[in-house]
Symmetry: D2
Subunit: 140 residues, 4 copies
């Protein structure tokens, strides 16, 4: 699979009074990593969605495990790739590393979602195009 | 002027490693207080904007002064009202109190902004309707 | 079990460009709900930890499922209780409701953690006191 | 003066339903830029504070002006430097640029603060060391 890599630096305001990263912050990073992974296809995620007539990739399930805390000044390296494919769903797996060790692991299950014709405001999963499946399945 | 009052409880994740509120959090509260003030007219802020053909009240200037820090578990009371009116601008003044003492003071200058006809994506200030000016100028 | 209930109002700044709650925000609410649940025992969570000689309840695992999106102005009601007990771990289950329907479901597995004697900076799980187990297991 | 430069990429979750950066986010960036500026002296900001016996640089006043909005996918370049020195205060001026044009301007007035001897929990401004003043006043 294609692995996208991003580096984050833990900022003061991202830590709680115990001086460890407040955990929703990890999900903010994972969400940004998913966008960055999709953008490897070119353009922004919004442009990709527009091109394929979808509204985005809404999240249906997220599972996070925390192994090592990180603190202000630490560097966190995220490695993200699609670990599982459904017909209209995909699971993005994020490994967040601190000095090379697995600190946090996150799986986001998302749906490739388009408007339901004739039902304004409704969306449903639609088949993920083969070109996306292939691109994200192929190591860079 | 009409003063709207909101109460916030300082959460663990809103504090930094010094166990004081990370300062952008105050602006999140002030933004929510501005919405709440406008909603005293009825409906959500979005509905109010739609009714008057504006896109919202974008911020042009904000000035904040910090007097007393707050920590996890503290209660912060915000009192918000329009302190100054221009033709198409308004300044919302927020006083954030901790146990009755002024902890943070914030002034947000915002513009009553509508799309520029014939120029997609462009907005400009338009006159604030008298009914809004009068409503927000009158004590409850 | 004891169920604690909190009500949140979705603010403008908690929503993303699709005008739905940006998902890490749900975790911020859940974290605050866990504190609020523990505080039903009296005092702040920090005071509770100090009384029992622990450093807190660090998260080891979180699983979230998303059923219905929420938007600016919506009211979200969270119902939180301990759904599972280990010797030194507890799982807090949060049900977030929108107009009575289950919108988001979140399980946080946390550890009742104390410093390891003689090893500064190290923490480990220690047995959860019976009084806490009983209090949080008993409906109000 | 020494100017430190940081580049931010606007993420999806940092934007509001109007698809512009939710304004408290700018302050998060400015706070991180202040840390980064201080860290040009070597070590983390926390290490710098410890070395000089201060608790940090608490904010007393912040003034922000907004000229151009930014949206998901935009790149924001921040240039930060100390624009004014008091005996125990310093004002950090941040210029946030979008495609070279000034988008947001922010001034943070902060105090070089140490514990008051014999009064636990109290802090007060103390003189800023000359070495810091000189280092941050000298262009790189």
């Amino acid at each position: 699979m294609l692995i996208n890599r991003r580096v984050f630096r833990v900022e003061w305001g991202q830590c709680d009074p115990a001086n460890i990263v407040f955990y929703p912050q990890y999900l903010m990073w994972c969400d940004a990593c998913t966008s960055a992974l999709l953008e490897r296809m070119g353009g922004t995620a919004i442009e990709l969605y527009a091109k394929h007539g979808v509204v985005g990739v809404p999240l249906v399930d997220v599972h996070v495990r925390f192994f090592i805390p990180s603190s202000y000044g630490d560097e966190v390296v995220a490695e993200s790739g699609v670990s599982q494919w459904g017909r209209s769903s995909l699971t993005i797996h994020h490994r967040l590393l601190k000095q090379g060790a697995l600190a946090v692991e996150c799986s986001e299950k998302r749906v490739w979602a388009a408007p339901v014709p004739g039902q304004p405001g409704k969306i449903h999963g639609v088949p993920i195009p083969d070109e996306i499946r292939q691109f994200l399945s192929t190591p860079a």
